[in-house]
Homo-oligomer: 445 residues x 3
Amino acid sequence: MNLDLLNLFIESVADGASLESVANIAQETATVNDQLNETILTGNNIWMMICIALVFIMHLGFAGVEAGFAQAKNTVNILFKNTLTPAIGLLTFALIGYNLMFPLEKGGVFQWSGFGVNFPTEESSSYTAYTFFLFQGMFAATCATIVSGAVAERIKISGYFIFTFLFLGLAYPVIGMWQWGGGFLSQMEVPFYDFAGSTIVHSVGGWGALAGIAVLGPRIGKYANGKVNDFPGSSVPLATLGVFLLWFGWFGFNGGSVLSADPATVSLVLVTTTLAAAAGAVGGAFMAGLMFKRLDLGMVLNGILAGLVGITAGADQMSMLDAVLIGLICGSLVVVSAVTLDKFKLDDCVGAVSVHLTCGIFGTLAVGIFGDMGFGGTAENAGFPQLLAQLKGIGICGVTAFAFSYAVFKAIDATIGLRVSAAHEKEGLDSHEHGIRGYTITYDE
Amino acid sequence: MNLDLLNLFIESVADGASLESVANIAQETATVNDQLNETILTGNNIWMMICIALVFIMHLGFAGVEAGFAQAKNTVNILFKNTLTPAIGLLTFALIGYNLMFPLEKGGVFQWSGFGVNFPTEESSSYTAYTFFLFQGMFAATCATIVSGAVAERIKISGYFIFTFLFLGLAYPVIGMWQWGGGFLSQMEVPFYDFAGSTIVHSVGGWGALAGIAVLGPRIGKYANGKVNDFPGSSVPLATLGVFLLWFGWFGFNGGSVLSADPATVSLVLVTTTLAAAAGAVGGAFMAGLMFKRLDLGMVLNGILAGLVGITAGADQMSMLDAVLIGLICGSLVVVSAVTLDKFKLDDCVGAVSVHLTCGIFGTLAVGIFGDMGFGGTAENAGFPQLLAQLKGIGICGVTAFAFSYAVFKAIDATIGLRVSAAHEKEGLDSHEHGIRGYTITYDE
Amino acid sequence: MNLDLLNLFIESVADGASLESVANIAQETATVNDQLNETILTGNNIWMMICIALVFIMHLGFAGVEAGFAQAKNTVNILFKNTLTPAIGLLTFALIGYNLMFPLEKGGVFQWSGFGVNFPTEESSSYTAYTFFLFQGMFAATCATIVSGAVAERIKISGYFIFTFLFLGLAYPVIGMWQWGGGFLSQMEVPFYDFAGSTIVHSVGGWGALAGIAVLGPRIGKYANGKVNDFPGSSVPLATLGVFLLWFGWFGFNGGSVLSADPATVSLVLVTTTLAAAAGAVGGAFMAGLMFKRLDLGMVLNGILAGLVGITAGADQMSMLDAVLIGLICGSLVVVSAVTLDKFKLDDCVGAVSVHLTCGIFGTLAVGIFGDMGFGGTAENAGFPQLLAQLKGIGICGVTAFAFSYAVFKAIDATIGLRVSAAHEKEGLDSHEHGIRGYTITYDE
């Protein structure tokens, strides 16, 4: 026995604190440990709650973009849809969607836990069950809103809301479960990778939008006289505001998808998200300048959204340079896509398909092209194997989302009718169903 | 003496670390404890500061709703009021209100601590004194803004600001102190319960608004020819933006009222707040559809606000289902209330009384009806006793706020005059006092 | 050897926990310490990330103010610039600016670390390198945006973007490095003090704006017929929205400049920032009422911005009363400055020079007048020495920023031309370069 050491110990202890207090340290340390875990949870949960608020405000972003880019005579109709869509979306997700998407017993395809929210009993160290539910609910609602912009100015409101309810009650959560609920896409030999939903949210919404405009047909006069006729939007400032708010909200959309406040990952995600958006703006401006010979604000705005959608699948996997490249490509792609859709007389009122579907697909592929999981990357399946997994995921989600949406839109069309009358469309949807105008800016002179 | 154990101890210690270092653990643990407490404070304080920013942006929400729903000719006047109201409100609260509402010696009715801010010396573990002051200041300012919407389009700006100063300098902080400053409402045998201010903020503001429109009388032409004439608002997108920002800000209004970032409570509050807003939208759409036979965006928007006001008193006490029910009821109630006010020729320019007073009262009662404190609840005074306490609080605050506001408005009316001239009102308030127009959208053809 | 104490220790230890576990505490405490440091980083980093989002949304604020105050015929042009400015600003800062502003080897004047971002290897305990980069990038972009408002309605878009690229790639980061990158201004005997950039960001942007309008000359008709002619802005609600968003974002601009979430400092900063803005509104309203005899919303809005710019240099040094005084002075000053600029036929489309330059200078001086560093303050160099240091900093940064900007604008003017043709200006910039209108609010009757 080393009595010298022991003596030294006793003395040093007796010096500063009683021996009893030293014995109490064990208890104290355990308490500190508990408090620390609670503090870690609190910090992570704060970040997730902020992200909830940020994703929520994206709904105002969508409302701004759509009301700004659509004609004044349909403003109230669009705002009515875009206000009720998150409301109905959140309620539907609480009632049905959440349990479909995050089944208590993981791994199945339809492991539904019943109506209402059965929160998982296990607690995460990063968020509470309520936080997780609300973050996911805000995501679900954005997916539905993507559709609303494309089909605007001619869809019947009853048909729109039936679609929204079925899309959010069935299609979105089931597809979401395949990847984020522990389903088969996440359990393939080479797992599909979709960080924050370029495919699961954006392209799924984009496929719904494509199905909608395919079934509806173009607006009257859009492709008249052998050319593409643009209908001027009511308020470009409103559309611009919408895009800025979407960019702002995307900090939460991507930043919250880390599902914790882990400083290294979240701050990387914010940087890649921001640079992709910035490069998307430049890409859109450049490609539109090349193709249309004008300084096209609409394409700058859609370029930003394109960059954001494109980075979403791999925001945590990319370098700053990767993010800039993805943004530039998506910003250019969105212009080409919009022109291409017009060639097929697919009339997308706000460019939702080009932004969310085209760039959602590219962004998902980008995971297998750039970054750790891409060619030259360091991940186990980097390059072709990952790219193949991405293609599988895109294909499976795409076929499902499009087939479901097309069938639902067709069924609505065949029964209660999907499209308003020609007279009603020409007159504008506001006067008829809503009885007020979007803008009344008059002065007695 | 157990020498074996001691030996084991010495060896295991000597193995990994010197005995001195073990002796230092006591000191280290104390340091860790201090740092941990500082970290807990930092986390909670971050959340409260975020909530300050969120409640602040509600003032833009109010400005949007009011300017959007009012006629174009009064836009600048409304924005002038709604910009100066938070400014003057914050300054008044710093100078007088804070000390009235949070007296250093708790329990009194007029324990005023003098002009300026005397911050409590005791520190909270959840926020600094500056954070608490600013959060409360943002709340106070919202209360005043509630009044501004109802009385818009005919009130004299001088009278409005005199009222605002007195209301925020006296009525709001004194009533607030009765509940949140440790006053008698919080110390009744069955304490009044108002989590985030359905009564203390919203109905108090609503009573002020009711007094204002009662003294002012309706706008010229509002009830002409035996019917209720709607004056079209200048910009429905602006009003919609306002409502989304209010919903966004309410995450801070209710979420911050937890006064910490406690993960379980705050995340529950965000969920009940969100679901009540969503259900309010549905309730408003449904009831307006029933009564007016149209898809009434105005009532969807007011339904959202109604749901938010309704959940505010018990956001931390409700289940998800409770929150949905409260939202549905408030969304319906706001429509009925608006129609009822019009029957009494009480002309509320934006529906502020229906939203903040009617639903503020119902929301406060809901605490005694639903949730832990309601019928079937588990709280000590659940059911009738709590409901009775709620009624007492509503009554006492209501009588005080209304009597004070009515007296002030009458006094202003009798002296400097409260209402602009008929000519001035018809011409619009902008051209006269402000010299510019809200919108100048002209193009040379 | 104190065997009694030892016995007591052994027993108390053996009582609650094995000696081994006590020996393990050392290890555990070390682990707790690591986790605690990570948690402290996480909390601080969360705050900084929120501030990034808040500063980002200031760009929507600038867009709103500028598009709202400018004529309808130039709306799209302004939005095009204000959308691409943060995009190009962030990319430029990533490519060049960051390395100029924060050289790896501190202290030099041109210690450039090369193209692209070479993040410092040392980690902060308050934020990650990515967080720091993004926060600084958002700051840089705001500085460029300040210029865009002043020169609106007549600048060529090519010239504007060339200036923006050079300004953000060279002038801003070099001047910023002098103070925030460890350069000579921060190392003077009495160091220059600029907490969040009244000089480094706002006055630098303001000097750029002044140079721009000096080279460009006034808009056609602005000073015709011997008087100052106001051109009505397209949308006062849009300008108001912009100011509210700038105030909102300033919580992040100043709050994030603490570079941690330190509760005491950040909450003080939020309070001084808010009170200065509120007092600025009152100061602007009062001085405009005095000078123009009207309730001038424009000056209330610019008064808010003036108060915000004014508090920025010393937001962490001021008492609540100091903040109110600074706000009142700046709110008054912005009105006087705007009138004075008009006397010199310096035509600033939105009052950017008066807000950012005039009040940026005063706010920087205020550090040496009020608070700890001012007269009666307790800081080492309080009063005249600090005031002198402030004057030096203002002068050096001002001469540099103005000379650089003037030279660049002159060079652009002499080569590709800085100003659009008179016909183009009269017609409005939208129709020509962008091919769409900002607002299309028409209804078939």
